[in-house]
């Protein structure tokens, strides 16, 4: 069997690199992590003609090989390490026909590394509309490469690209720009000192602080007969290198690229006039947010109700079908409600990721960054913090990772610290069920649903709290760092259905299997803790109930009372009773206390826990919501979930840091335990105080 061809997909952000990747691999792809770091690693297998196969690695988008972020380091580290198992046989640089000049900068750098490189010119379908004409043949000659004109949108050119990949051996690996011309003396000395190394590779090692196996900057600097230069001087040389490359590119494009400006009056400027307008821009952004939340609340409630009743029915059904016993109870009372607690998330997570990827794919997200930068800076954040804060409404984990493109360390750290305040989707089920219990389902002003408005307020509260704490942190933290801010404003594009769909499926899947495992495990542990107890009271529950209520109880009532006596005397009941004094001032009973404690692992466990606790010892087919509504407050009387305790719970969940995975990711991204621990205690402290105040004022 012939060996797989290793292909690395490289390109600037916003060139449609991912679309090309999706077309090459179809659903034959997997998303993992690079070892030791949390950068997403996307790879897939591409079937080529004549029975051949290629392994495609989709590298993070980068503007050049001068790395300024972790994501960009990945690209260089791979391209400089011939021993890496993913080291490409051939590199495919994806460019966008409208930004060819800028895209070619990266291309010429990769070419200088001596890797056979194919140039993909994407969005070829736009050429005619934009009045662009290309002399592909001449361009191939000048750039010493093969070019594939591709339209990921219209699915053209993909087969041609596959042919080029098969024949990669025919592609020249000669560089097209000679970088050593920027400082001939310096490069000469470099060549003499390290005769066995590629010159451009040496240059990259000197100018970047990345690790290239045994060759790193230190060893270069320590080599006696070679002296490197001052940092500022190196920077000057890097600037010179960029200018030399652009001179070459300009020369090539002058001969091969024609643009008729008269036909180029485009949609972009018309859209930007409104969408980035000093007044309307903000109205539209706010309107879009409102639409998203209203939509998520309204649309996903149907599948969610269906899932809720389905799982209630399933639990009941297994109990009837399977022979009675411990095993059946574990399935019907532990596993099925636990699974239900995971599956019920799917509609909302899918909707949220749908909207986020639509905003990102269309190019609108960059406009939001532009509009919000000035406002966010006042709070010690950056316009680029908006993307993490908005992604934070899906999940804090990708949001913390999305802070990587914030260049300024202080702004980035503050963003990481405050992101968990935004309302992530794990809070959603908690919010939804409590809102449904304590906020009337009515309309105000004839249009707005009161429950939907409450949800929107909670989102605003989370956002407000993150901005406020950013402001406080900005005043407290004394970190000196150099700020700069450059962001590309990509062209508006109609989002590609395939990209959006794959993104939604991937993200939902990783939630279900990632967070799902924790939730399921905790559900089972909880079931065990709730089904067994240490003392005699647990085993003698029947006798206790008979003694207390006499023998006149109906069978149904009798079992209900037995169930609750058992639960109170189970392991979990005792733990709950233990913490009850702490949570009672907030308006909760020991059952909610347990749910809160277990949800410190992950918030979404809350509903699942209550589902498990309430379904233990209950035979009726009821939804979780019905069971919760029927609970009464043992001290104050009346329903347990009333307005005061409901608001108190909502506030607790709005502020508390209850997610082990987020803490782990923050530790990894900040490289210190100090920050996650600070988050855990400060946020949870705020949550307790807020919940306490709310309940005591409202009760």
């Amino acid at each position: 069997m012939p060996k797989q061809i290793n292909v690395a997909l490289i390109g600037n952000p916003n060139t449609g690199k991912t679309s090309v990747f999706n077309h090459l691999t179809g659903l034959n792809q997997q998303v993992g992590n690079y070892p030791g770091i949390t950068v997403e690693k996307k790879e897939g297998i591409c079937k080529l003609p004549r029975g051949l196969k290629a392994h495609i690695l989709d590298l993070p988008g980068t503007y050049s090989l001068n790395a300024s972020s972790l994501d960009e380091n990945i690209v260089i580290e791979l391209l400089l390490n011939k021993n890496d198992k993913d080291y490409p046989d051939v590199a495919v640089v994806v460019s966008d026909v409208e930004n060819l000049k800028r895209n070619l900068l990266l291309f010429t750098q990769i070419k200088d590394l001596g890797i056979p490189t194919i140039l993909v010119i994407n969005m070829a379908d736009r050429m005619e509309r934009k009045g662009i004409s290309l002399d592909v043949e001449l361009m191939e000659k000048r750039l010493k490469t093969k070019i594939a004109l591709v339209s990921a949108r219209k699915k053209t050119g993909i087969e041609e690209l596959k042919e080029l990949i098969i024949n990669y051996r025919q592609i020249s690996s000669e560089p097209c720009v000679n970088a050593s011309t920027i400082a001939p003396d310096y490069f000469d000395r470099l060549r003499k000192a390290f005769p066995n190394q590629s010159l451009y590779k040496l240059w990259l090692v000197i100018t970047q602080d990345v690790n290239f196996g045994n060759l790193n900057r230190k060893t270069l600097e320590q080599t006696s007969d070679f002296q490197t230069k001052e940092k500022s001087e190196l920077k000057r040389l890097q600037q010179k290198e960029t200018i030399v490359r652009y001179q070459f590119i300009n020369g090539v494009l002058k001969e091969t690229f024609k643009k008729d400006i008269t036909t180029a009056k485009d949609l972009r400027s018309r859209l930007d006039r409104v969408l980035t307008h000093q007044v309307w821009g903000y109205f539209i952004f706010f309107g879009i947010l409102l639409l998203i939340f209203q939509a998520i609340y309204d649309w996903s409630s149907y599948p969610m109700d269906l899932i809720d009743t389905t799982f209630a029915f399933l639990g009941e059904w297994t109990k009837e079908v399977l022979p009675a016993g411990v095993f059946t109870n574990l399935i019907s009372e532990g596993i099925i409600p636990g699974l239900g607690g995971i599956v019920i998330f799917i509609p909302q997570i899918a909707f949220l990721f749908l909207f986020i990827s639509l905003l990102e794919e269309s190019g609108y997200m960059s406009r939001v960054v532009f509009l919000m930068d000035r406002v966010m800076r006042r709070f010690g954040l950056s316009g680029k913090s908006v993307v993490p804060l908005v992604s934070g409404t899906a999940c804090a984990i990708p949001a913390v990772m999305a802070t990587r493109n914030i260049e300024d360390w202080k702004e980035r750290l503050i963003t990481i610290l405050v992101v968990p305040f935004t309302t992530c989707s794990a809070r959603l089920p908690v919010y939804l069920i409590i809102i449904a219990l304590v906020i009337p389902n009515e309309r105000v002003l004839g249009i707005f649903n009161l429950q939907g408005l409450t949800l929107m307020l909670l989102y605003l509260l989370g956002f407000g709290m993150s901005v406020f704490s950013a402001w406080v942190l900005d005043k407290i933290l004394k970190i000196k760092s150099k700020t700069y801010f450059v962001i590309e404003m990509p062209d508006y594009k109609l989002p590609l259905f395939k990209n959006v769909a794959i993104n939604v499926v991937e993200k939902t899947k990783s939630f279900v299997f990632g967070a799902g495992k924790i939730i399921l495990a905790i559900s089972i542990i909880l079931w065990v803790l709730a089904s067994y107890g240490p003392g005699d009271d647990f085993d003698n529950a029947e006798a206790i109930v008979t003694e207390q209520y006499g023998k006149n109880l109906s069978q149904e009532d009798f079992e209900k009372h037995v169930g609750s006596v058992k639960l109170e005397n189970s392991y979990i009941g005792m733990m709950g009773k233990g913490i009850e004094p702490v949570v009672r001032p907030l308006g909760y009973d020991w059952k909610i206390g347990i749910a809160i404690v277990s949800s410190f692992a992950a918030r979404e466990v809350f509903v699942g826990t209550l589902a498990t606790i309430y379904s233990v010892g209950s035979d009726e087919e009821k939804t979780i919501k019905d069971r919760m509504a029927a609970e009464t407050n043992p001290v104050l009387g009346g329903p347990l979930f009333n307005f005061a305790s409901g608001i108190s719970l909502l506030l607790f969940y709005a502020f508390a840091m209850q997610c082990m995975s987020t803490l782990a990711i923050v530790k990894r991204e900040t490289n210190s335990w100090k920050w996650p621990i600070l988050q855990l205690f400060v946020m949870s402290g705020i949550a307790y105080v807020a919940a306490l105040t709310a309940f005591q004022l409202l009760k």
Binding site: S232, T242, D272, T483, Y484
Partner: protein, 76 residues
């Protein structure tokens, strides 16, 4: 007073003359912000910060403080 990108009015264009080499981020150069290139101010956020530019066909946004580092000559 020397003219910089920050002194452009909306829709106005200029040619980049030079910039403060030690302070300018390399990324800006990589995005096409080079001496001799044309720059147009497309749009500004409130208080003229950040600035949305078209540099030689590349669309990008930078903060005012960075824009002050880029010296230009106004064309029209």
């Amino acid at each position: 007073m020397k003219l910089t990108v920050a002194s452009l009015k909306k829709g106005q264009r200029g040619i980049i003359k030079q910039f403060a080499h030690d302070q300018i981020p390399l990324k800006l150069l990589e995005m096409g912000c080079l001496p001799g290139n044309e720059v147009e101010l497309v749009q500004t956020a409130p208080f003229k910060d950040p600035l949305y530019l078209n540099v030689n066909g590349s669309h990008l946004a930078i903060r005012k403080e960075t824009a002050l580092l880029i010296e230009i000559e106004v064309i029209e």
